[in-house]
Subunit: 67 residues, 6 copies
């Protein structure tokens, strides 16, 4: 993957909820729900809609651990 | 989950690499590799070792989308 | 604390302001004001309301320094 | 405060540990320990040393909540 | 720069769009567009308006690389 | 740009400094210095070296404002 962010999970858009500045996109990633909050502009520019296949990209430093 | 971070993925520790301040922890999450960089202190305090079950916690605003 | 995030500050909820996707929660932490922006869903799921005791959790890499 | 980051906590440097790229700075903020990981360059450029008074700066979106 | 964040880019405010909790501020930085999402409170407290000169501050760990 | 991160700045790699887990990459972006800290693995996988053209990718929520 030609990007420094270490994690890419492929999923499917389950729902999109749009606010004034941000938007919430729910993905199904291998049966698990993954929630993303991005800018409303990004949702529009990517042309995202329910059912689309999309990659979730997550920096390694954004992954906390808990046990 | 009693925490505001919206995403929790349960995985298994595959490897731990320790630097002077930070550490890299590789997880297997349902067959996919997930890489986390946390502080070395966190790895020690959580007592993480290979084979342990651990939760990855990710804020919704840390999940970017790409298509 | 069984989580990699290094900082936990215990406070009391002073106010909650809810937007469409995100929410602002103001805490009193030992007499100092601490402002948090989380998803609206998180506020609902945690059942937060004014006067509640709550922990603020902050990753070490999110703490900048200034002098 | 003329910066968009919403939280400023004034503290005192208790310890500094330096790695090759990053550094860990422990602060005492009103009797509570606060841990920061910044770049080694930042520690050098700010001229930080034990006993110094310093401000910790934290964005509102970096403050998670837990109950 | 007396702050640990490593990157400061000077720009001019081109537009401000305000939501309920957050706001989007578009800057012109040397002819390139730079988009910032901060809290609505920050925009108000900084008194930002179109045409203002402003600095964008970005932590080194927030800069991803792609080729 | 088919990614939700709102900011892409094209630059040239000026220097790379490698630690055990992380690495510091300095870019020249239109005459301004931009510093990035990414994982050492990312630098290796992208095959970055001095003189390379590279894009810096920055989320809108990672751009703070100061005046």
């Amino acid at each position: 993957m030609p990007i420094s962010a270490r994690n890419k999970l492929t999923g499917k858009v389950m729902s999109i909820e749009t606010g004034m500045i941000t938007a919430k996109v729910q993905l199904d990633v291998g049966g698990q729900k993954l929630t993303s909050i991005v800018s409303k502009d990004a949702v529009n520019e990517l042309g995202l809609k329910e059912g689309d296949s999309v990659d979730a990209l997550i920096k390694a430093t954004s992954v906390m651990l808990m046990n």
